[in-house]
């Protein structure tokens, strides 16, 4: 898909496939075209060119929307409604029968931890409370696909954990979750798969289950010869940061004993051998590069 506003290209050439039943992270710096892409997938914006299929039908199809939930970034709604009324309204708009809503409304209010505030008007809600009730409205009709745009912004750590648990529960019941968040630590512990986009194009994608295997090892040793460091390339990428330090990135933890044996066999005196898992933030920065300004 491509989206152009005047002479500004918001999404250059987005091409991606999202597997069903997974939590899919959509990452990119500010202005990368994430929100515009989500809008096109939801039918809120029309692509300038290209097309998208959601749950087997063209993006924006009215019947498919019955099976989609959406939490917009900075969720806002009619402030004169109470939390219970908001869920009731969204349930009805999503086609949930009245009789089911009688049970579901209190159940979903409880699920997002707002039972004490169910009769309170939204105008008295904090940003975090609005995010919670916004999440509930996205889930009230038990959709097959859920788009969450920054669902944890404005939430305290307890709220984030609650949202994380809800997202996982949705996946466990078979739903697909399309998650756009700047909180990489959240993405890291929640998502099954992520894509990185920049200037409206997919730069790369990662399977987070494989990502857990990738290890970076910081080594401090004396007598590190050039031959010894070159020999490390057999298990991954290695480079010397100074006379006594070398960093090795290897795709599997299985390489750890081999690396250590190689160092010792090559005559190095090893003082430190510290395996570290590469954080998503480090990966993000390594892919996106330094901040180049907006």
């Amino acid at each position: 898909m491509r989206k152009v506003f005047g002479d500004k290209v918001a999404v250059r050439d987005l091409s991606l496939e999202v597997p069903r039943g997974e939590i899919f992270g959509f990452l990119g710096p500010n202005g990368a075209g994430k929100s515009t892409s989500i809008k096109m997938l939801l039918g809120l914006a029309k692509p300038t060119s290209g097309e998208a299929f959601v749950l087997g039908k063209a993006a924006g199809d009215v019947e498919v929307r019955r099976r989609i939930g959406f939490l917009p970034e900075n969720f806002r709604f009619y402030e004169w409604l109470t939390a219970a009324e908001l869920l009731h309204l969204h349930g009805r708009l999503s086609g949930v029968p009245e009789i089911k809503l009688r049970d579901r409304v209190p159940e979903f209010i409880e699920r997002v931890g707002l039972t004490a505030h169910r009769e309170k008007r939204l105008q008295d809600f904090s940003k975090g409370m609005l995010q919670r009730i916004g999440l509930a409205q996205a889930l009230i009709h038990e959709p097959d696909l859920i788009f969450l745009d920054e669902p944890t912004s404005g939430l305290d750590p307890m709220g984030r954990r609650l949202v994380r648990d809800i997202i996982r529960a949705q996946r466990d019941r078979g739903a697909t979750v399309f998650l756009n968040s700047h909180l990489l630590s959240e993405i890291e512990i929640t998502c099954d798969q992520v894509v990185f986009i920049r200037e409206g194009e997919v730069v790369t994608s990662r399977d987070m289950r494989e990502q857990e295997e990738e290890v970076r090892i910081e080594v401090r040793a004396r007598k590190l010869t050039q031959e010894c460091v070159a020999g490390l390339a057999k298990w991954g990428a290695a480079f010397k940061t100074d006379e006594e330090r070398v960093t090795i990135t290897t795709p599997s933890r299985d390489a750890l004993p081999h690396l250590l044996r190689h160092l010792v066999a090559a005559g190095a005196d090893v003082y430190e051998f510290t395996p570290q898992r590469m954080s998503l933030e480090e990966l993000f920065l390594s892919i996106m590069g330094e901040d180049r300004g907006l």
Binding site: K39, V62, R65, F70, R76, Y78, L89, R92, L93
Partner: protein, 276 residues
Amino acid sequence: MGTWIMAGVTFREAARKKILWTALIAGAGFLLVFGAGLHVQIEDFRTNAVPPFLRYQIVSAMLMVGLYTVDLLAVVMTTLTSVDTIAGEITSGTIQAIATKPLARWQILIGKWIGFSGMIAVYVGIMFGGTIAEGYWIGGVMAEHPVRGALLIFLECMVALSVSFLFGTWFSTLTNGVIVLGLLGLAFMGGWLEQMSGFTEGSRLATVGIVSSLLMPSEAIWRRAAFEMESPLAGSLQFSPFADVSVPNFNMIAYAVVYLLVALGIAVYNFYDRDL
């Protein structure tokens, strides 16, 4: 179904946000002043020997002024309450949570339109009915065709509502408000120019008025409503500013209905076609 849910929530919004109640309280103030004025005038008639014919003319003219005020209040309230509903919700992003639900965009827009229509019908009904009732019970005069008059005033409000929806799908709330009030001002001026042309028999002035009415037919609808409500005698005597010297014919009312439908149709298309 979705259309009626949107209509219901729009109507409830007016009640919850106290728009309707505030307007009705202000309207009650108007009815109080209007009733007091009528009462004082009737008392004056008792102390001063005013011929019955002149009494009738004065009270009829007061009733028409009262109904004209109701007309202005209804159109202004229609504009002020509706100007933000589409434009504001697009700007704030509120519309996104609705437009991703399984309902077509036309259902959202038409549902809101129906909701506002219901609210305006209540307002016009109470204000118009109150004024007519005061005219009858206090002043002893009755509009000639009150139902036709009420329906025409309601039609005028629907024209303003549709224009507000139309420009709300294009522009921000503020710009939309400026455009709709500007068009109402144009229609007001054009309507009075056309009325003046009737007194002076100036055909070029009438043309200016007609062109204004074609651009925005709201005031033309009021002049037809005034013609329907004023007694034939009072209208023909050219005593009041609402005298039937230049009355829009049925074609103008039909034009206003078509104008309303076209405005609403373009609004639906714009809303369907635009990014939210």
